[in-house]
C-alpha cells in the first residue's frame, strides 16, 4: 500500500499553515519530513493518518492494505501516549482487544521480543525510562501490523544518548521488516540517518522546499555531514525567522 498526498492546503481560520503539498509515500521506504518549528509538519502527519481533515486536497490510499493489517495507518507519538495504569503488555494488548484474535497473548509476546522488552512485560510506564517507553510505543505500533508507520518526532523527548540507541534500534528494525514510515522531526541528524527521502518544508505556510533523496543504505550510513549541511543551508534562514515570530501573531 502506498500513500499519495495531493494538493493539500490547510488553514486555521485566516492563517494558512500548509500550502499545496504534493507527496508520494512509497512502500517499504522511510520519508522524513523536516522543517522549522511551526511549519505544520505535525499537522501534515495528522492529516496523512486521518486524525485531522485538510481544508483542501486529499490524502489517497493507493492499493489495498496488506492482508492481516489491523490498523494500516499507525502512529508513534512524541510523548509516547502510553496508558499509565496499564503494564507494558497491557498497553500493547489495548490496541488488539477490539479485534477477535485467537493468538493475542502470543502476538504480544512476539512484538515484545522483537523490541527486546520481554523482561519488562509486567512493568508500569512510570517505572520505565523515556527510551523504554518509546520502545513500548513502537512495540504497540508493530502489534497491529501497520502498512505505514506515522512517527511524530518520536525521539524528541529523549536525551541524546538514548536517541542514538533508539535510532540504531529503528535502523535494525527496518533492515529486518522493511516497513513504510513517515517520520516527522526537526532533528537533521535523525533525518539523514533514517530517511530514504527527506522532505524539507518551508516556514508557515508550509510548502515543500526541496526533496532530497539519500541513496546510501540505512545500515551503512555515517553522520552524512554533507547532506546535513545542505539541509541546514535550506532551513537556516527560515528557522531563524520562525524563531523570531510571535506565536499567535
Amino acid at each position: 500500500m502506498e500513500l499519495s498526498v495531493q494538493g493539500l492546503t490547510h488553514r486555521y481560520g485566516e492563517t494558512e499553515v500548509l500550502s499545496g503539498i504534493n507527496l508520494d509515500i512509497a512502500s517499504g521506504r522511510i520519508v522524513c519530513i523536516v522543517g522549522p518549528s511551526g511549519c505544520g509538519k505535525s499537522t501534515l502527519l495528522r492529516m496523512i493518518g486521518g486524525l485531522e481533515r485538510p481544508t483542501e486536497g486529499v490524502v489517497l490510499q493507493v492499493g489495498p492494505p496488506p492482508p492481516g493489517s489491523l490498523n494500516p495507518l499507525t502512529y508513534v507519538f512524541q510523548d509516547f501516549a502510553l496508558l499509565p495504569w496499564r503494564t507494558v503488555a497491557g498497553n500493547v494488548s489495548l490496541v488488539l482487544e477490539d479485534h477477535a484474535l485467537p493468538d493475542r497473548t502470543a502476538r504480544i509476546a512476539d512484538v515484545l521480543a522483537r523490541t527486546r522488552l520481554s523482561d519488562f512485560a509486567d512493568a508500569l510506564p512510570r517505572q520505565l525510562s523515556g527510551g523504554m517507553k518509546q520502545r513500548v510505543a513502537i512495540a504497540r505500533a508493530l502489534a497491529v501490523d501497520p502498512a505505514v508507520m506515522l512517527m511524530d518526532e518520536p525521539l524528541s523527548a529523549l536525551d541524546a544518548q538514548t536517541r542514538q540507541l533508539l535510532m540504531d534500534d529503528l535502523v535494525g528494525l527496518w533492515e529486518r521488516e522493511r516497513f513504510t514510515a513517515v517520520y516527522v522531526t526537526h532533528n537533521l541528524a535523525e533525518a539523514v540517518r533514517l530517511g530514504h527521502r527527506v522532505v524539507v518544508l518551508s516556514r508557515r505556510p508550509g510548502r515543500i522546499r526541496e526533496i532530497v533523496e539519500i541513496d546510501a543504505p540505512l545500515g551503512a550510513r555515517g553522520a552524512m555531514e554533507e547532506v546535513q549541511a545542505h539541509l541546514w543551508g535550506l532551513m537556516r534562514d527560515e528557522a531563524q525567522a520562525a524563531d523570531a515570530e510571535l506565536l499567535d501573531g
Partner: protein, 280 residues
Amino acid sequence: MTAGTNPEIARTLPPADRDGVQPVPFRGGGFRATGNRWAGFVVFAALIAFVEIGIRQGWIGRLTLPLPSEVLDVFRQLWVTGALWDHLLPSLSRFAIGGALGALAGIALGTVIGLFGLARAGLVPVVSALFPVPKIALLPLFVIWFGIGEGSKYALIALGTFTPMVVATYGAVDNVDRTLIRMGQSFGLGWWSIVRKIVLPGALPGILSGLRIGLAIAIILLVAAEMLGATYGIGAYILEAGSLYDLERLFAGVVILSVLGVLTSSAIGWVERRLLRWRS
C-alpha cells in the same frame, strides 16, 4: 574510620582554624510534607485529657462540655442494651443506599456531560443551579414524592451526593489527557472501548476525590433527614438527646458521626492506594 586517621580524607577537609573558611550553610530544609501516623491520635488524646481534667478540676463548667468518661459510659450502655445497633444499622443502610445511588448517578451524568458537548451545554446550568441549594430544604418535597418512610431519606442523601459527584466527574473527564484519547482513535479503538479503557480510568483520581466530598455531604444529610422524621438512627438519637439537654448522649452521637466520617475517608484512601498505584 575518622578523618584524622585517613590522610586521603584529611587532605580534602578544610582547615577549621584558617580565617574565612567555613562550610556552606545548609538552606534546603523544611517545606516538605512528612507524616507521622501517631500525631493525630496524640492530638485527640491530649484534647480529651484536657477536657476531662479541666472539668474535674473545675475550670471548665459542667454545662460547657460533658465529661469524656461519662460519654464513654453512654457508649458502654448503648453497647450493652443493644441500642447502638438499633440506631446505627438504619443510619448505615440509609447512608449506603442513598450514597451509592447518588454517587453512581452522579458519575454517569458527569461522564455524559464530559463526553457530549450538547449535554454539557444543556445540563451544566441545571447542575450549577442545583448545587448551592441546601438539599435539606427540599425534604418536604421528597416526603410528598417518596413518602415519609425510607424513600424520602434515600432521595435526599442521593441528591446531596449526586451534585458534587457530577461536578467532580465531568471535571475529571475534561482533564483526561487528550493525547491518550487521540492515541486510542489512531489505533481504531471503538468509542465504547475508548470510554471504558481510557476516559474512565483516566478520570478515576478526580472521581475519587469527588467521592470524598460527596460522602461527607451524605453524612450531613443523613443526620438532617433523620432529625426531621425518624424514630431510629443517629440523627434521631442526637435530636432526642439535644432536646433533653443530655450532653453526654448528644456527644456520644456526634462521636459516632465523626468516626463514620473518618472510616469513610480512610476507606476511600484505601481504594485510592489500591486503584491508583500507577500514579508516580
